[in-house]
């Protein structure tokens, strides 16, 4: 298999601190409403305690990205060497098709530039031998980057509950689902 960078989200380690989300904003200064990495709380129907488990999601750099397929001006390209999907803002005409079409809601409309934009996997940092800003910032190493060609964690899944399944896109993400502690409740109430 070709090298394919992916985000590995260890939702068991993740403490939902939003450091990754803000680290990205700190790096790219996106204007209001443009969020590249969002931390989604897992609803109580999946993890029984509200706002205590999270999926930190940015772009999934899919094997067969919808954004790339639907873009009328070929503003998206997928890097041969490592599978990172890059958006070229020079070409973008702000048609919004990628924004509407990505099932994970990844591309966002930048109202200042009037173009779409999305997580770039910090490819310039990658090329400079660094980690993406979000990955470096995570205080508990819950957010990591892996190469799917060699990734071999037996308890990791691609579609945990709360993350929609799109096998045709084949998102390059893997997750570890969060566990629950043993809970000793009060006997007096």
């Amino acid at each position: 298999m070709k090298k394919q960078y992916a985000f590995y989200i260890d939702a068991e380690r993740c403490i939902g601190c939003f450091t990754c989300a803000m680290a990205c904003k700190n790096q790219y200064h996106q204007p209001e409403t443009v969020i590249w990495r969002q931390v989604y709380p897992i609803k109580a129907e999946i993890y029984p305690h509200r706002e205590r488990a999270f999926y930190s999601l940015a772009c999934n750099h899919c094997e067969n990205p919808t954004c790339l397929n639907v873009c009328p001006v070929v503003a998206y390209s997928k890097r041969e060497a490592d599978g990172i999907v890059i958006h070229d803002q020079e070409k973008c005409i702000g048609c919004g098709n990628c924004i509407r079409s990505c099932p994970y809601g990844v591309p966002r409309y930048n109202p200042v530039l009037k173009k779409a934009e999305k997580c770039s996997f910090c490819w310039q940092r990658i090329d400079a031998g660094l980690k993406p800003q979000c990955v470096q910032s995570c205080p508990v190493e819950a957010l990591q980057i892996v190469d799917l060609a060699t990734f071999d964690k037996p308890d990791a899944v691609q579609y945990p509950p709360g993350f929609p399944k799109y096998p045709k896109l084949n998102p390059s993400v893997r997750f570890l689902v969060p566990r629950l502690p043993k809970i000793i409740g009060r006997e007096d109430i």
Binding site: K43, C92, G94, I99, P103, Y104, G105, L113
Partner: protein
């Protein structure tokens, strides 16, 4: 993620009206016996509508002046194909408008009609991405075809010769019935689908605009056609209003998969 998208509402409705006009005009010209009617006026109207639709679409772009670059991805992107289709359709329709005498020449008329039909197909594919579970299927294509037929027949009535009005009325009536059935059934079917599809069903059913469009855009016209056995002159405007309302519901009440991230699908 689910916005009103007014430029797209007008782009799709107006361009589909133009295409519908051209298709119905062409069918009328060859499939039905009798004089062609005000064929020139019809194709002038269609040209005006397709131009208006295109102008509306530019309001959707962040950088409209670079809109022409949207033709670059024909090999993969349905949107590029749609832009191509609309452009060629525009060319042929304007050509037809200039060439129109008491009829339109066959190749131009059929060319425009076929290109128009293909364009509706491209639109149907463009507006059914996997991100909107309720419409990630043939439904947008069906909705768009109905728009084209409803508005093509009803506006066509302004230009058709009296001999062809019965045919026109029949086509309109059948389309109205089919439309009513489709638009009433589809949201109900969605209710038994996956989470986001069902949410979309509830959103449509709970939308006053949806019910207004059913009544104003389908029930009322059907009643009018039934009672008059003809297409009253005011009917196209009502149907147009209905289609615009329906397209608004299509954009704003159809829910995006990403809205449910973190929840069970």
């Amino acid at each position: 993620m689910s916005n009103l998208e007014l430029p797209l509402v007008f782009f799709t409705v107006l361009s589909q009206t133009a295409i519908g006009l051209v298709i119905i005009s062409t069918l009328r010209q060859w499939a039905v016996d009798g004089p062609t009617g005000n064929i020139r006026g019809e194709w002038v109207t269609a040209s005006g509508l397709i131009i208006a639709g295109m102008v509306a679409s530019f309001f959707h772009l962040g950088h409209p002046l670079e809109g022409y670059t949207a033709l670059k991805h024909l090999d993969k992107a349905w949107l590029s194909r749609e832009v191509l289709g609309v452009s060629i359709f525009l060319g042929l329709t304007v050509l037809g408008m200039f060439m129109a005498r008491d009829k339109i020449s066959g190749p131009v008329a059929f060319g425009a009609a076929i290109v128009g039909l293909a364009t509706i197909l491209f639109m149907g594919m463009t507006y059914s991405p996997p991100s909107y579970p309720a419409i990630n299927n043939v439904l947008p294509l069906v909705f768009f075809l109905m728009t084209a037929l409803l508005l093509g027949t009803s506006f066509g009535s302004w230009f058709a010769s009296p001999e062809k009005r019965i045919w026109l009325t029949r086509v309109l009536a059948v389309t109205l019935i089919v439309g009513l059935v489709v638009y009433l059934i589809v949201p109900c079917v969605w209710l038994s689908g996956g989470t986001v599809m069902a949410q979309t069903g509830w959103a449509w059913i709970g939308s006053p605009l949806y019910w207004a469009r059913i009544i104003i855009g389908l029930v009322l016209p059907l009643a009018a056609v039934w009672m008059t056995r003809d297409v009253p002159a005011w009917l196209p405007a009502i149907i147009l209003i209905g289609e615009i309302m329906g397209r608004m519901v299509f954009f704003k009440d159809t829910l995006h998969a990403a809205g449910n991230l973190g929840g069970l699908y």
